[in-house]
């Protein structure tokens, strides 16, 4: 128990040494460590509550995703059956209850219709399930019901794209080290340190940026449009800036060109009135299409539609063949710039809503760090004095173990790139208090064994042995609580649990193994005949 072979001593000291070395970069300013090689980049990250910044939890409505999928399916079915050969006439198309259903006019064609629709569905998941169930009801109505696997699949891919789009948009803002993480099935956590005013960020993320160009249906009756009715093949869209007075306009359903065909978007000033606008460039295919439609519709207006709202409806004075276009419509420099960013990074496949937001100013963060450091130092000092008064030389050993423990915890956190939060600092302070518990257990046991008349060496040996078992047990239960906090906790609870768990693991090593090494060394050198404990 009290004899240590040389290799063991070396191992213990090496482990502690490495742990302490890993803590070093966290104490140095970033501009020094950034020049170091990759393996030395072991820093503890500061949580938003310490560094200041914004935390946003965004949620996508899965309903939107399934609705969009259904609409998309409807388009595919229409195209396949009406345009395909032989043509199959369908009617009574409905998208009620999340299912697409339609009637095949000629009952003899039902089977043929099902045959043609089946290939439109896709495999979903591993089990060979399709993303839609195709069934025939009442002998002439075909129902396409999305399967759970299909819904999960489409939500998942929409979220993947959304995460990427958000990353691009935030990168465009030029903030440092944003963290963008998917959470659960339909959420994304965005954390941007140092961001004081999240309004700009939220505006940017709140925009779906679905851009479409459609021809204006000038045949529509203005009175009917005002009531929200449009001719077949057209739809009525809100148009807040309509010079005609009514905030609505009828446009053709068919899309001329969409934002998917963009290669670039920049904020510019309109040459005619010097107002902010956004200039966009189409890719080759989009440019050609735009050129073709504008050539065929000279002197007619087209609508520029963003997220289902018409921004403006300019007249086509001449064919636009250069592959560029300009979007105008009541922009400020800021909003034009924002739209340009949103368009460049692509449209969000699903609208996102902020469901949780936490913003901490940098001043409060700095105050919290200072308060945390003062509290830690005072706590460590008070505990150290108390331990020394109670156990003398052994108290000093325990204190040394605590100091090393704190450094090793920081080192491990650095290695894991863990985040230190304000509750994490509380975890540190608490660890200072509980880490000495192991030593208290051992020392009290040694006192007890001495009182029972055991010799110096034997009492120490017994104290460490008996107490080790108790310490192990107590720490397992403590770790159960910590593990549950880590698994179920969010934000602050997690930050606290990380420090607590690492502290439990390292404190057993420093408070038991390390102090035993010191005590053993002292025993061998001093050969005491009486214990002052």
């Amino acid at each position: 128990m009290l004899t240590f072979p040389r290799w063991k001593i070396t191992l213990i000291l090496a482990v502690l040494g490495i742990g302490i070395l890993c803590a070093v970069p966290s104490f140095l300013p970033e501009r020094i460590t950034s020049a170091w090689p990759g393996f030395a980049q072991v820093r503890v990250n500061l949580g938003l509550d310490l560094s200041g910044g914004s935390h946003l939890l965004l949620e996508a409505s899965t309903d939107d995703v399934t609705k969009a999928r259904l609409t998309n399916m409807e388009d595919q079915v229409r195209t396949e059956l009406r345009r395909g050969d032989p043509r199959i006439a369908i009617g009574d198309i409905s998208r009620r209850d999340g299912k697409l259903s339609f009637m095949v006019r000629n009952p003899a064609q039902v089977d043929a219709a099902v045959e043609r629709i089946r290939p439109l569905t896709q495999g979903a998941g591993m089990t060979g399930q399709r993303d839609f169930d195709v069934s025939v009801v009442d002998s002439s109505t075909i129902v396409l019901a999305p399967t759970d696997a299909g819904i999960a699949n489409s939500v998942n891919s929409a979220m993947e794209v959304a995460t990427e789009v958000i990353r691009k948009r935030i990168d465009e803002l030029g903030t440092r080290e944003p963290s963008i993480v998917r959470q659960g099935e339909n959420r994304i956590v965005v954390q941007v340190p140092g961001l004081q005013d999240p309004k700009q960020l939220k505006d940017l993320l709140g925009q779906t940026a679905k851009l479409e160009f459609k021809l204006v249906d000038f045949t529509a009756n203005p009175a009917e449009v005002a009531q929200g009715r449009a001719p077949v093949g057209s739809e009525v869209l809100p148009y807040p800036g309509n010079p005609a007075g009514v905030p609505f306009i009828a446009v053709k359903r068919q899309v001329m060109v969409s934002g998917d065909e963009l290669t670039d978007a920049t904020q510019v000033y309109d040459q005619q009135n010097n107002l902010p606008a956004v200039s966009i460039r189409f890719n080759a295919w989009g440019g050609r299409k735009f050129g073709k439609v504008t050539s065929e519709n000279v002197d007619r207006p087209f609508a520029i539609i963003l997220d289902g709202q018409v921004l403006s409806a300019p007249n086509i004075n001449e064919p636009i063949l250069g592959g560029t276009a300009q979007i105008s419509g009541n922009f400020t420099v800021e909003s034009a710039n924002q739209l340009a960013i949103a368009l460049r990074s692509g449209k969000l496949p699903v609208a996102l809503k902020v469901v949780e937001e936490r913003t901490v100013g940098p001043q409060l963060g700095a105050d919290s760090i200072r308060a945390g450091i003062i509290a830690s130092v005072v706590a460590a000092g008070a505990v150290a004095v108390f331990m020394f008064l109670s156990y003398g030389r052994f108290g000093l050993y325990a204190n040394l173990a605590v100091v090393i423990n704190i450094l090793v915890i920081l080192g491990v956190m650095g290695l894991l790139n863990a985040t230190l939060t304000l509750p994490g600092i509380a975890g540190f302070v608490l660890t200072i208090g509980t880490a000495v518990d192991a030593n208290v257990l051992i020392y009290e046991r040694i006192r007890e064994e001495r009182r029972r008349g055991r010799g110096v060496v034997q009492a120490i040996e017994f104290g460490y042995k008996e107490a080790s078992r108790t310490i192990f047990e107590a720490n397992v239960t403590h770790a159960i609580a910590g593990g549950i906090m880590l698994a179920l906790g969010s934000g602050p609870v997690k930050g606290f649990a990380i420090v607590l768990l690492i502290g439990i693991a390292t404190s057993v090593f420093t408070a038991v193994t390390f102090t035993r090494l010191i005590v053993a060394t002292w025993l061998r050198r001093a050969r005491p005949t009486e214990l002052h404990i």
């Binding site: 949620e59 939220k202 706590a379 505990v383 008064l389 109670s390 078992r469 698994a487 602050p492 609870v493």
Partner: protein, 324 residues
């Protein structure tokens, strides 16, 4: 140098003898705590009820009533104010705007901030939280689940590790600790938020740690003194571990005292909850969980049966393994 000893050597306090009184007092206090939670409710933070919290630091301590009526005049819904220890720092809590539009929250924050700033020059806004009802519902569910899982998980551990009586007595004692802490928050009206859930879980962890040490000693003595009367054995074990119980409580209290005094206002509720929890946890270790073992009918022979249990034997081997 004379070393400090908080607890004299070889104490022989009859903890078990007073167990009926202790149980009665404990039961009454626990019921009072539950009643306090039931009647007064907890002052839930925005984490758990949803809404908006803006923290404002005033140039000098503001009259709360006036601030409240000023904000009421802005017509932004029912406002609730709370001071954070430091009288200059006030948290302003508001319901989230009805509109589902993201911009509405920002507009509300701006309106309140501008309104307060106009009346109280020099005020700064250091942070704000906005939590929707949906998220707060999940947070509260996860919080309750975490505490329950921790208590049950630990009780099961000590059941496997020792006898079922240890599991039950631990479970009862820990539930007592949790309920008393909740009662404390109901009475003081301190804000109950996510940090406090972390505090409650830590209290659970600490309290269990404390009970484990005593339980372990009881088991050790059960093997050592097979013939000893259970009451005397438990008294002996509690007395033997008393110096450690007191020493550790004092060191943790010292650390938490530093946190309470210097850790800043954000952690004040957390530190207060922890300090109280340590006291409650220590009390329940000494007076509740160990004495309860007698009521539950723990017999000395039981210890020998379970000696070679799975985790137990592993732990013992680990202990032995440390011996070269």
């Amino acid at each position: 140098m004379k070393l400090l000893k908080l607890v004299p050597d070889n104490t022989n306090i009859g903890f078990v003898r007073v167990r009926h009184i202790a149980f009665a007092i404990t039961a009454i206090l626990t019921l009072l705590a539950v009643a306090a939670v039931g009647v007064r409710g907890l002052n839930m933070g925005v984490d758990f009820v949803g809404g908006l919290m803006v923290e404002a630091k005033f140039a000098s301590a503001p009259p709360l009533d006036k601030v409240r009526s000023d904000i009421d005049a802005m017509n932004v819904g029912e406002v609730s104010l709370q001071q954070f220890g430091d009288p200059r720092t006030v948290s302003i809590r508001l319901p989230l705007p009805e509109s589902s539009d993201d911009g509405a929250t920002d507009a509300l924050v701006r309106k309140v901030q501008a309104g307060v700033e106009a009346k109280y020059p020099g005020v700064t806004f250091s942070r704000y939280d906005a939590v929707s009802g949906k998220v707060s519902g999940e947070l509260i569910r996860n919080g309750i689940l975490a505490v329950l899982l921790a208590v049950v998980g630990i009780a099961i551990f000590s059941w496997f590790r020792y006898e079922w009586q240890f599991g039950v007595s631990t479970f009862v004692a820990i539930m007592h600790d949790v309920l008393m802490t909740l009662g404390f928050f109901a009475i003081t009206r301190l804000e109950f938020d996510l940090n406090i859930v972390a505090a409650v879980l830590t209290i659970v962890g600490y309290s269990i740690n404390d009970k484990m040490v005593i339980d372990d000693r009881i088991r050790e003595n059960m093997r050592k003194y097979r013939k000893m009367d259970m009451k005397a054995l438990i008294d002996l074990s509690v007395n033997e571990t008393l110096p450690r119980t007191v020493m550790t409580s004092v060191t943790v209290m010292l650390a938490l005292g530093a946190l309470l005094a210097f850790g800043g206002h954000v952690l004040r509720g957390f530190s207060a909850a922890m300090m109280l929890g340590i006291i409650i946890g220590t009390y329940s270790s000494v007076y509740v969980s160990s004495s309860l073992l007698i009521t539950l009918g723990l017999k000395p022979e039981a210890a020998s049966d379970k000696k070679a249990g799975g985790i137990a034997s592993k732990a013992e081997r680990m202990g032995d393994g440390a011996q070269p």
